[in-house]
């Protein structure tokens, strides 16, 4: 159980990508994101007490994948923790370090470069080695099974998801040239009922942010605080779970809302940045996180602008922070998800605050 006694603020953020293929090396990508973050926070490496990174060894083709970025994240001779899960989980761990009083300023960094290999092929190695790996099943197939389970009793579901994908692709492109529902429903079947354009395009990228204690802020100066933290892990075997709902996200959201003092999420959240890699997941998010039509969802298209695994949730956090910085809205939520059919779920509540 976390303690909200020490407020945590997000001091700055930056990213590189998403790009379908970034020709730079992973350290070059990460350095770009970290330098942008430090500039944004008006800080230098010397201001950082500790680092939390997020990366997955099998996606990078090496173990341990954090050693490639040790220097560029400024972790040499500093305490570093690596999270092999979504970057939002890394941000939660960094915030917990600050709340616990261990550090005042923590840099959070996530990276992934799926263009290096066949990403979904690699996801097979994240499954039970005896039973599931021998079947050759991967995360893409699990997404199809989940969407199929949701569509089984809902004949309008696939058309709705095409509409959601069209909306997010339009928000992401901003040029009015994105495909409409009809084109999406005619795109190639990937794993029924999901079609190619219902799947957020995989991309390379890195994202970072600096979290710091929020109780030493300049009085009267607006800052963005992480007021609610929650994460959850469901059973790994998807056959143990009810796929038409996300009990893990319900639990993660409930923890984050309780932490932030939110009693009615349907009325109290202005903007939501969910990690939606497949169109059906947006409905799971809305239903499980208790989001209503009063909330703006993914104003810039979310992951349909480019889905960088592991980076996704942290990029949702920085997108939500950017939204709050530019607007006077009070509260946003960022969501992260990882593992087969969303086994891992994370939720962070962000608030505009004036100390």
């Amino acid at each position: 159980m976390t303690s909200a006694s020490t407020p945590v603020a997000i001091a700055g953020w930056g990213q590189t990508g998403p790009l379908a293929e970034d020709l730079r090396s992973i350290p070059e990508m990460v350095l770009d994101a970290v330098q942008a973050t430090l500039r944004n926070a008006a800080m230098g490496y010397e201001d950082i007490d500790a680092v939390v990174t997020a990366s997955v060894d099998v996606f990078d083709g090496m173990t341990a994948s954090n050693i490639a970025v040790t220097e560029v994240v400024g972790a040499v001779m500093k305490p570093e923790t690596r999270i092999a899960a979504d970057g939002l989980c890394a941000a939660i761990h960094a915030a917990c370090q600050i709340r616990a009083g261990a550090y005042d300023t923590v840099l959070v960094v996530a990276h992934a470069k799926p263009s290096m290999s066949d990403f979904y092929e690699l996801t097979k190695w994240a499954l039970d080695p005896i039973f599931l790996q021998s079947l050759g099943i991967d995360f893409l197939t699990f997404a199809g099974l989940q969407a199929a389970a949701m569509a089984a009793e809902d004949k309008d579901a696939v058309e709705r998801w095409a509409g959601l994908a069209a909306c997010r692709l339009a928000d992401a492109s901003g040029d009015g040239k994105s495909p409409g529902s009809t084109e999406i429903l005619q795109s190639a079947l990937v794993t029924t009922p999901l079609r190619e354009k219902m799947c957020a395009p995989l991309a390379d990228g890195a994202c970072a942010c600096v979290l710091r204690r929020g109780d030493d802020s300049s009085p009267g100066r607006k800052e963005i605080r992480l007021s609610g933290l929650g994460h959850d892990l469901a059973a790994n075997f998807i056959g143990d779970r009810e796929l038409t709902e996300s009990a893990g996200l319900e639990r993660a959201a409930a923890r984050a809302y309780a932490d932030a003092g939110i009693k009615q999420p349907e009325d109290e959240i202005d903007v939501a940045e969910p990690s939606v890699a497949f169109a059906h997941e947006e409905e799971l998010f809305v239903q499980s996180a208790g989001i209503s039509d009063n909330t703006i969802i993914s104003p810039h298209g979310g992951l349909f602008a480019g889905n960088v695994p592991i980076v996704a949730g942290l990029s949702r956090l920085t997108a939500a922070a950017e939204y709050l910085r530019r607007n006077n809205d009070l509260r946003a939520v960022a969501h992260g998800s990882w593992g087969p059919a969303g086994q891992g779920q994370a939720m962070v509540v962000l608030e505009n605050a004036i100390p």
Binding site: A147, A148, T192
Partner: protein
Amino acid sequence: MTRPVIISHEMDATWRYASGVAMERFANNLLERRIEAMQCGECKRRYLPPRPFCGNCRVPLTDWAPVASEGVLEAWTVVYLPIVDNRTGITRDGPYAMGLIRLDGADTTLNHYVAETDPACLKVGQRVKAVWREELRGAIDDILHFEVLE
């Protein structure tokens, strides 16, 4: 920007996983075309594939319960992309169907291939039956796939 040097990297390694007591019995049962689940003494949930611990009740599992090789298709998807079979290295071209099957007597569902690949012929709730390999070897692919019964 000029295109940088791209260095190909291939990993090749072999692991020898201990099956554990639960999977050992499961595998030996497959050699006799028999399937058993493990049942939690607290919640009574019957887990398949079997495992040593109930994650919900946080208690070890020791009780076995027979389940049928027939059951109900709880979810299915037809995949149009090829996959590589990890055991043989042979590519399985699409389309192929993957299902979640609740065998009679089990409370959780089992991932496996479904023989039918025409989406129009598949629906949730259909009865399905395991089709066994002729030469059994004590692994999950002793079940080749599940066929639709109706």
